[in-house]
Symmetry: C2
DNA sequence: TTAAATAATGATATGTTATAACATTTACAG
DNA sequence: CTGTAAATGTTATAACATATCATTATTTAA
């Protein structure tokens, strides 16, 4: 696995070219699914776009209401199926402490991110740190615990909100 | 803050004197609340007991149905209020990935645990590791992120389930 | 190229988790 | 006592998620 000791978003939530994020994400998703023989259907692609509308985690029912607006009555399973597909493909992550979803900006690599979530502005940044990964691995190994997955979510105040308070 | 590089439960979920766990937890809770001037009422104490019934995370509605059985019709807010109180006092932890709650065995110290949750038997062990804490702190500091709380949950197979499979 | 199998979607209902809002009771300080 | 704050009771509803079965689209393979 590559070294991802980087921050996907520098917290400058408002001041970057977000259309670029979305475009890249969709292109990557197309390529990945194509390579894997997974079908990124229109419905799934549209849900991915909606999750990527910002760097704020998006709830399933937020997605649902947008879909309903643009395509007429839509039922929860439609959204959850799409989200499940996107999760399986690693194209989005679920933020457990918010029951919400965010796009992943490097879906081609299997990884466990660290999510920094601002309690003030609501943005979420996915970061990676091999020191953290190793520390956790060392601990679980020492206890004989076999890890399947892990979630690490940090709630607090992002640098933007902290400086412009 | 003390060094808690220990495991609260050695995963021997079935083979220990759990009544002792519960008794200790309730005694500690009484003492703590008393010292803080917080009121551990009968209702709150009973909910704490129910959460402590095992080392498996317990859902709010599990608690609710037990309360209803023993005390007649009970409504969700009763349980959630008690759980909120217990969370505030650090007497229980919430497992975000399960929407469930577990007792904390060292509530007198402010701490962020690591929860190891077995996908097979459902038990949850709270462990602490200063190396992990420091690695996370270093990362968030370097990004200028001010942490309020953090949640670290690891899902996998506990040593007991792994050995006796 | 059509038939069977598989995958995806539609539609309805329901299950599960959590909170809002307001009334009532209880604890306890003055 | 009595006024105030804290806790609890009660009803309703919001928010999140899945089960089930019918239908349609896509792929596979005879
Ligand atoms: Zn990612
Ligand atoms: Zn912020
Ligand atoms: Zn125990
Ligand atoms: Zn186990």
């Amino acid at each position: 696995m590559k070294n991802f000791d980087t921050v996907s978003l520098s917290f400058s939530g408002g001041s970057h070219d977000h259309k670029h994020c979305v475009k890249t994400a969709l292109n990557d998703a197309e390529a990945l699914c194509s390579a894997r023989g997974a079908r990124l259907t229109d419905a799934r692609k549209r849900v991915l776009e909606l999750v990527w509308e910002s760097h704020h985690p998006v709830g399933a029912y937020d997605v649902l209401s947008k879909l309903s607006q643009e395509s007429g009555k839509t039922a929860p399973p439609t959204v959850y199926r799409a989200l499940d597909f996107l999760l399986e493909q690693g194209l989005i992550h679920r933020i457990e402490s918010l029951n919400a979803y965010v796009g992943c900006s490097h879906p081609s690599e299997e990884h466990s991110g660290v999510f920094l979530i601002c309690n003030n502005c609501g943005c979420a940044a996915e970061v990676h740190d091999s020191t953290i990964d190793q520390a956790i691995l060392k601990k679980t190994d020492s206890l004989g615990f076999k890890t399947d997955q892990r979630m690490l979510e940090v709630r607090g105040t992002c640098p933007d909100c902290h400086s412009t308070q």
